[in-house]
């Protein structure tokens, strides 16, 4: 009679020191999962413990930590995601990037839950994990190659099919700040410069294949719950919508609340004619297939091919909501084939599309204002709508070539080099480029501002401020009276607190946001997930206790930011543009953020969290969460008295 042990779900921990070529396998995850679940939670736990505040993101001593979610490898709908955690290349604080595709299941079936990578290899290498065996292999022949080619080459080099490969492209190799890690060349662990961290270690890729089992504590109970979860997602209204129109099904609704980053956030509203040229229907023309990630019935992915026009012949997996916002709106290029092309280029180079479009849009506005001229831009005319120039700039940026070297720094650092008030339109949070327009939905604004990793909408920002639900649904699922007026400040601090904790639960269980109640209340909520975690681990955990784990991870990150980057309240304010310049057109023309009301939301968010007026976690809050050691560190650093 087999007995279950936590390690059979959580997976072993693999430690690789690239400087010494040392490989070590431990069971540390089995000790940490009760407090941190898995994925991002366990990664951040190791990151906090083992990286010192004076270590810089590209130093060998920085860790790159890969974590499969606690529930990945099981058949919970959407439980497929991987977290990559490290010091943020833009700001030295928390870095965390999350990705779909099938990498985490691959890691779990090889017997691993977390991989901790330290040091720097002497020359380019990749790590090959096959069940229990781990090898460091030469990557000299693929250094310089794009991520898709790298994927194919590694499969041949190890002589296997069905290998899951996380790799960097030229952008990571050239330490571009917005460099990302790509899974099998098509899914991005995009943010915080995780690709540059890998590049700084001469780490071209991590490849994994496994044939082992993932097991849960109470199989029969788990299967009953999983069947219910599967049915809940498979037959939901939201699934039908996303299957049809992908992650940009809601493009018109987003534009209706003036939530588009039009021309570097000069406006929040996109001309509906332009929206029609890049909505779900417009892209459907180029779609060859729709498909899914591991264990997901939503199948939101798609493969495109363009047959005519200047980009005839391009094909590949591409396009999400961000791509349309970044290229069609932020750069005013409402041309679907150009959006596909730009996205594919970023996949190839291994570059975050938000960071790429952010730096480039800043440059376009600087050019518009005469702050940059053709002398600075290698003779290129940076005019809104010019997609030919966009493609040229993406390449220069990935290779840090000439003008691209400035862009590769991201708009925050680039604008500090150029000066001439160009800092005013470097639209960033904690120095990382934003994709998020924020003037209308106030909860979204607060969530983006407070996000521990520097912008992004997957660490606290709610998505539910624009639709009406039946009464009681908002209270039951999100813990607030109502969510349906985007412009009201009331209740939004509490709505954000819920999401800050809930997002951490998702990132740590490995469940995709696109099978979760973040998108809509008919999807997996904390009660659903608490039951699944209980049956999977044998721990009886309520949804309150589950959200408390999310709270623990959140406080750990907040403290990390204070210690490593000196972040506090002053770093929680969105760029001045959003407070000073109103939306220029559309249904919410005239709307902007009110500083006093924003301050009150910050005050309330901090109060609910148990933080002081500077947004620093109080001693008693940290102790309540079992983070007494964090309180001591903050005391020693003089951050709490």
């Amino acid at each position: 009679m087999k007995t279950w042990a936590p390690i059979k779900l959580v997976g072993k921990t693999l430690r690789v020191d690239l400087s010494d070529e040392k490989i070590e396998v431990t069971k540390e995850g089995a000790g940490a999962y009760k407090n941190f679940l898995g994925g991002k939670g366990i990664n951040q736990y190791f990151l906090y413990k083992e990286v010192k505040p004076d270590t810089k993101p590209l130093d060998p001593d920085n860790l790159l930590i890969i974590g499969a979610g606690l529930l990945t490898g099981t058949l919970i709908p959407g439980a497929t995601r991987t977290s990559f955690d490290t010091k943020n290349v833009f700001n030295g604080g928390v870095g965390s990037a999350n990705v779909g595709g099938n990498f985490a299941p691959g890691l779990k079936f090889a017997g691993f839950g977390n991989v901790i990578i330290k040091g720097k290899a002497e020359k380019p290498i990749y790590i090959w994990i096959e069940n229990g065996s781990v090898e460091i292999r030469d990557a000299g022949k693929i250094w310089g190659k794009g991520t898709l080619e790298t994927t194919k080459w590694i499969c041949e080099d190890v002589g296997e099919e069905g290998v899951q490969i996380a790799s960097i492209g030229p952008a990571g190799e050239n330490l571009v700040r917005g460099a990302c890690i790509m899974v099998n060349g098509t899914r991005a662990a995009a943010k915080c410069g995780v690709g540059a961290v890998a590049g700084s270690k001469n780490l071209k890729a991590i490849a994994v294949k496994g044939s082992k089992a993932v097991e849960v504590a109470e199989p029969e109970r788990f299967m009953e719950l999983a069947k219910r979860a599967w049915r809940k997602i498979r037959f939901s209204r939201t699934t039908k919508i996303i299957r049809a129109g992908r992650t940009f099904s809601t493009l018109e609704a987003k534009n209706a609340i003036c939530n588009m980053p039009q021309r570097n956030f000069q406006d929040g509203y996109m001309d509906p004619e332009k929206v029609r040229m890049v909505n779900s229907e417009a892209f459907a023309k180029y779609e060859i297939s729709k498909f899914a990630c591991f264990s997901c019935p939503v199948w939101c992915r798609a493969y495109y091919k363009v047959e005519d026009g200047p980009y005839a012949g391009i094909e590949g997996e591409a396009v999400e909501m961000n791509s349309i916002a970044d290229f069609a709106s932020k750069l005013d290029i409402p041309y679907a084939p150009a959006v596909i092309k730009a996205h594919l280029m970023c996949n190839y180079y291994g570059m975050d599309i938000d960071a790429a479009a952010g730096a480039i849009a800043w440059a376009f506005e600087a050019y518009e204002k005469g702050v940059l001229t053709k002398k600075d831009t290698d003779g290129l005319e940076l005019k809104w709508g010019n997609h030919d120039v966009l493609m040229k700039l993406l390449k220069k940026m990935a290779y840090r070539e000439s003008f691209g070297n400035l862009l590769a720094e991201g708009s925050y650092w680039a604008s500090r080099k150029v000066g001439k008030e160009s800092e005013e339109y470097a639209i960033t949070m904690k120095k990382q480029d934003l994709y998020e327009e924020v003037r209308v939905p106030k909860g979204w604004a607060l969530g983006v501002a407070l996000s521990t990793r520097g912008g992004g909408h997957c660490s606290g920002a709610p998505l539910v401020e624009r639709e009406k639900f039946p009464s009681g649904v908002a209270e039951k699922i999100y813990g607030v009276e109502t969510t349906t007026d985007p412009t009201t400040y009331k209740g939004k601090a509490k709505l954000v607190v819920f999401h800050e904790r809930f997002h951490n639960v998702l990132h740590s269980t490995g469940i995709c946001l696109y099978t979760s109640a973040w998108v809509y209340p008919d999807w997996l909520n904390p009660d659903d997930i608490a039951e699944l975690v209980s049956a999977a681990t044998g721990l009886e955990i309520t949804s309150e206790e589950l959200l408390k784990i999310g709270e623990r991870i959140h406080n750990l990150e907040r403290a990390f930011n204070a210690l490593h980057a000196g972040f506090d309240r002053k770093d929680d304010y969105l760029p001045e543009r959003f407070f000073k310049e109103p939306i220029k057109s559309g249904p919410y023309k005239g709307e902007k953020l009110d500083r006093k009301k924003f301050d009150k939301m910050l005050d309330e968010n901090y109060r609910i969290h148990g933080w002081d007026e500077k947004g620093i976690p109080k001693r008693e809050t940290l102790k309540r969460l079992g983070l007494g050691y964090v309180a001591k560190d903050l005391e020693r650093a003089g951050i709490i008295r």
Partner: protein, 86 residues
């Protein structure tokens, strides 16, 4: 007509049926990635290479792969479980 989307829930539920664990490498049913978002699916009628032969979910109310498949490409046939993508 419905196509396999490569979610591989059939592999997961099949391995669970055989071993009460999630282990796609031993499932009777296997999804093959053909590239460009296209997939084919094969069902093992005999034990081979650690894969366990399909027993049409003996002991269950109804074959689990058919119940779970979100695109309904898995079917009952006189030959056992088959995958039809037209």
């Amino acid at each position: 007509m419905p196509k396999c989307v490569g979610c591989r829930v059939c592999e997961l539920i099949c391995s669970y049926h055989h071993k009460k664990a999630f282990q796609p490498s031993v499932s009777s049913i296997k999804v093959h990635d053909l590239g460009k978002g296209k997939y084919s699916v094969s069902v093992s009628k005999e034990d081979r290479d650690k894969r366990i032969k399909c027993d049409s979910c003996e002991g269950e109310d109804f074959p689990l792969c058919i119940t779970f498949c979100p695109t309904e490409v898995i079917c009952l046939s006189p030959r056992g479980i088959e995958v039809i993508q037209i």
